[in-house]
């Protein structure tokens, strides 16, 4: 099996587990939130990675996350075309289309809302747990 096999992990559906600042019902309404990396999956991991599979089915997508801050940086990555989203950064609101990256420096208040479309969002936090 080898000493390093523990560094290779399979993702799992976060389902209705708590996620601070977030409504997991609102998240789940858009599609499954999949945990790809955290310090419980890999001891010592200093990155937290979620992949959210998103499909906006109704006219209006739900709000699912309050404005909040982290003590480390974060990135939202939208790898492919097909999603429109609105991001709050400090006191500014911006709308953008995928593909795109949003970098959030430590301490900057932010939130995210998906407006329309279908695709994935990769959320990367620069520490081993979300909080």
């Amino acid at each position: 099996m080898g000493e390093y096999e523990k560094l290779i992990v399979k993702p799992f559906d976060w389902e209705d587990r708590d996620l601070v600042f977030h409504s997991t019902n609102g998240l789940a309404e858009l599609g499954p939130l999949i945990a790809f990396l955290n310090r419980e999956m890999v001891d010592g991991a200093d990155l937290n990675i979620f992949v959210h599979h998103i499909e906006v089915s109704g006219d209006e997508a739900p709000d699912y996350v309050d404005v909040h801050t982290h003590d480390v940086s974060q990135a939202y990555v939208f790898p492919e075309a097909g999603l429109r989203f609105e991001v709050v950064l400090g006191d500014e609101t911006h709308q953008a289309e995928s593909p795109a990256t949003v970098f959030i420096p430590p301490g900057l208040r932010h939130n995210l809302k998906i407006l329309s479309g279908k695709g994935i969002e990769v959320c990367i936090l620069r520490k081993g747990y979300y909080g």
């Binding site: 390093y4 990396l37 940086s73």
Partner: protein, 138 residues
Amino acid sequence: MGNHGKYIVKPFDWGDRPLIHHDRAVMNSLGPLMAFLNTDMVGEADLNIFIHHIDVEHPPGPEYVGIHAHDVSQAYVFPSPGITFQVTLGDEVHTVESPATVFIPPRLKHTVKIVEGSGIEVSIVRNEKYEQSLAEDS
């Protein structure tokens, strides 16, 4: 647009730019490598993110990156099913099917090879520019 619009960036094709330890021509034969975040895109960024769009036409896929190490941690994320890859971690070689994550602690020598399939690979280095993260003896 305000002061914070600079934090929202569009990815671009890395094209034939060099990437240390990587054979860019061979990488491009699998599909385009897209830069999603680095310090040239966002000055304050302390994450380096690439996405490689992969389609192996003739399995097994070619080798394109020599074994190397970084001073900081890295993760390979394969978000969706459809890719089989081989990752070397230290002196161990593992063959894995996506979806999967590989976490690489600082200074662990590693390389990756795509065996077959199609999909995307997200590479995240917990540092600024990719080259700045390379360990001195790599």
